[in-house]
Amino acid sequence: MSYYALILVCYLGIDTIAAWGLNLEYGVAGVANLGYILFIAAGAYSYAVLRLPRGLDLGTGASYIGGLHWPGWLAILGSVVVGALLGALLGLVAVRRVRLDYFALVMFGFAILSWTLVGAVPGFLGGQSGLFFIDDPGVSRTSWAYAVLVGIICVACWFVLRRFTCGPVGRTLRAIRDAPAAAASLGKNLFGWRIVVQAVGGAFAALSGALLCGFLGAWSPPAWTSLETLLYLTAVIVGGLGSDVGVLIGVAIVPVLIVQGVQFLPTISSFPQFTSDGTMILFSLTTLGFLFFRPQGVLPSRRPRMRISTSPHGSLGEHAPQVATGRVTARPRSRGPKLLGQAGSDDAVLRAEDVTVRYGGVVAVDHVTFQARLGTITGLIGPNGAGKSTLMNVLRGTQSPDEGRVVLDGDDISAVPTYRRARRGLVASSQLSEPFSRLTVIENLCVAAPAQRAERLSGIVTGRRLWRNQEQVIIERAASLLEEFRLTSKANDLASTLSGGERKMLDVMRTLMTNPRVLLLDEPMAGVTPALCDRIERAMLKLANQGVAIVVVEHDLASIERICDHVVVMASGRVIDTGKMDVLRSSEVVQQAYLNG
């Protein structure tokens, strides 16, 4: 009986480690790895071939590669490395531009593919009959010492896990999950993070597999059918997607459910823990029930509430006297010292040179040369279909020009991806203003802060100590921005609860958090009431005074007239005129362009 209890406890620990890895991939980073079992198997097989002596006769006619007869702890370590590498490799290959549900399919297909191959090739990993006679890792698998080993490793995993699922890293991963394009515009390296997540998830899976293999002493294809991934997936869903503690509960429910269920329902194979019919039926119904009625799981992840001091004026509703003085009129501002760029230079910090973009037969942007200078606001106007948004996309890097190039600070950045441009200070807001919907408003802002120490390897390894101060500064900056835009009352609300106009402002605020040098705003005032437009305009003027170069596409010409130093008019893909707005208004060419729509 106590051996039975030992099995349960060990499985609890081993499965929890695996479930944590999957939770990091799916619950936090939003990437469903439906082939997760492959990584567990990779860990198990690695442990086996590292631990087994060379060329052991298994009596089945099958053989295996490796056989290094390493000590237990080294074999486990080796498995972890294999898992991480495999995860990174598959991440490299698969996570590129594939839709998330397609990626899920790819991984699923890959797992089945590998399973078929391993089973069909007897000389690789023991073929269909698998590997056995595998030694335990130095701790007896029939004693409670093994449970202690698993427990200690679990605790260690917990601390490593928290580095990724909590704090700024967790926030960044969740932001990438919610709105990848927006995250990239703010400087997040999507590709890099996804590989990291796959590698860490793979490492966790392999560790779990190694411990399991060490416990069982054997490993073969029936132990890792694609269905097994569902077990862990269920634990994550039932326990609480994104919640580490929840997942622990999920694992307790799922193996317990299955193990107990087995005793009362007919079984069909020699692996009772996993493949009894009735159990599977019950288990799939339960999971569906959770997906329906309680998708957040038994113990949902809690959203962090940050305490920020409220100003004496309080939140929305009370007008500070300044606002009622009406809209911003002329441009009575002084040219402040230029923060960056050569002092007194009039060189354009951002330039589009002879850019051309074609869609099929249509020329969306036709040999356009365009520039923006530090400390100025350049308006980009024109009728619909003029190519303004396309040009903006080329400037921010979401689209590459068919001809021509983009130059930033004198460097050709035409081939530089969006997130790198953001890191160099070229930040854009999008027309769609996607908030990170499952993050709070203030988290949305904090995640945008550039160069966070917490996101570097040193930060992850060292932990809170290294980045605690910087985080505090970031939070304070975010709080003051919220106040400037009068959204303090919504700081701890989920971004998904914001109205259309508030989302626009959040988008603008996010770009402001990045300390941009060049800011591209694509219709920041669309769908926003005049009162809020006012705030956005003031923020833009303030930034320009501080030396930032701003390019703004807008339809509200009154707004353009108020804030822009220089205006460029586009129509049918070409620049048809430039100058000051009041002059342009009376230009024949411009009027014609607008009339023709």
Binding site: L316, G317, H319, V323, A324, G326, R327, Y359, G360, V362, I381, G382, P383, N384, G385, R486, S499, G500, G501, E502, E523, A526, G527, V528, T529, P530, A531, L532, D534, H555, D556, L557, Y594, L595, G597
Partner: protein, 245 residues
């Protein structure tokens, strides 16, 4: 007189899920009228439209179309009763051609009638003739809007409901579209109910207007009066807690 009204909305409380966005809203649209729904962001204007056409959830209240109770009726049934609807954004079948879009608008018609209506729509919007074979995804925003309205007009609705028809359009195009709507459609006897962000332009052309603030009707009057009302400027400029006289 109530029975003369084309559309009557009484004490409507509506929203999404369990969230109530608009409360106790009452509006009406008479024959050959252009009625505008204006107000600051987040006031719930689009929600009112969506609740009328059955796309948003109605908690309480009544919607009547030509004296027939249609509260929470599905959109496709309302369309068969003579209501046209152009949603905000995503308003055409983007991988179909202009002609196919128009023909889809005439789905309920017999082929002969459909052809006639297409000709009629093209007469009203001759710019579409040159674009008939092009996919709407290849058109500009203003052109797409024309297709969208044309599609809705295929069934010659008695009431056309437009959700921010000039969103994303330049000032010039906005005027064109609004004028089109007011002149062309009113001429054919179609009433219009529209939601607009660009209050000033719309109020210059509409007959009557409702001002929605934080989910409730703050003012209901002829459009010119709304335009001139005191406190209107503050509603749009000052955060929306003051109500106009």
């Amino acid at each position: 007189m109530e029975s003369q009204q084309l559309l009557v909305v009484e004490a409507l409380t509506a929203g999404y899920g369990s969230l109530q966005i608009v409360r106790n809203v009452s509006i009406s649209v008479g024959p050959r009228e252009i009625v505008a729904l204006v107000g600051p962001n987040g006031a719930g204007k689009s929600t009112v439209l969506r609740a009328i056409v059955g796309v948003a959830h109605v908690f309480s209240g009544e919607v009547r179309f030509v004296d027939r109770v249609v509260t929470s009726s599905p959109l496709e049934e309302l369309v068969r009763l003579g209501v046209g609807y152009v949603p905000q954004g995503d308003d055409t079948f983007s991988n179909l051609t202009v002609r196919e879009n128009l023909e889809m608008g005439g789905y309920l018609l017999r082929p002969v009638e459909r052809r006639e209506r297409v000709a009629m729509v093209l007469e009203r919007w001759p710019q579409l003739v040159s674009m008939l074979k092009r996919r709407t995804s290849a058109l500009s925003g203003g052109q797409q809007k024309m297709v969208a309205v044309g599609r809705a007009m295929m069934l010659e609705p008695r009431l056309l409901i437009l959700d921010e028809p000039t969103a994303g359009l330049s000032e010039q195009l906005t005027r064109v579209v609004i004028e089109d709507i007011s002149v062309g459609l009113a001429r054919s006897g179609t009433s219009v109910l529209l939601v607009e962000q660009k209050a000033r332009i719309v109020l210059e052309t509409a007959d009557r207007a409702y001002v929605l603030v934080q989910g409730e009707v703050a003012m209901a009057a002829p459009a010119k009066e709304v335009l001139a009302a005191e406190g209107m400027a503050e509603i749009f400029l000052g955060g929306g807690t003051t109500r106009p006289t």
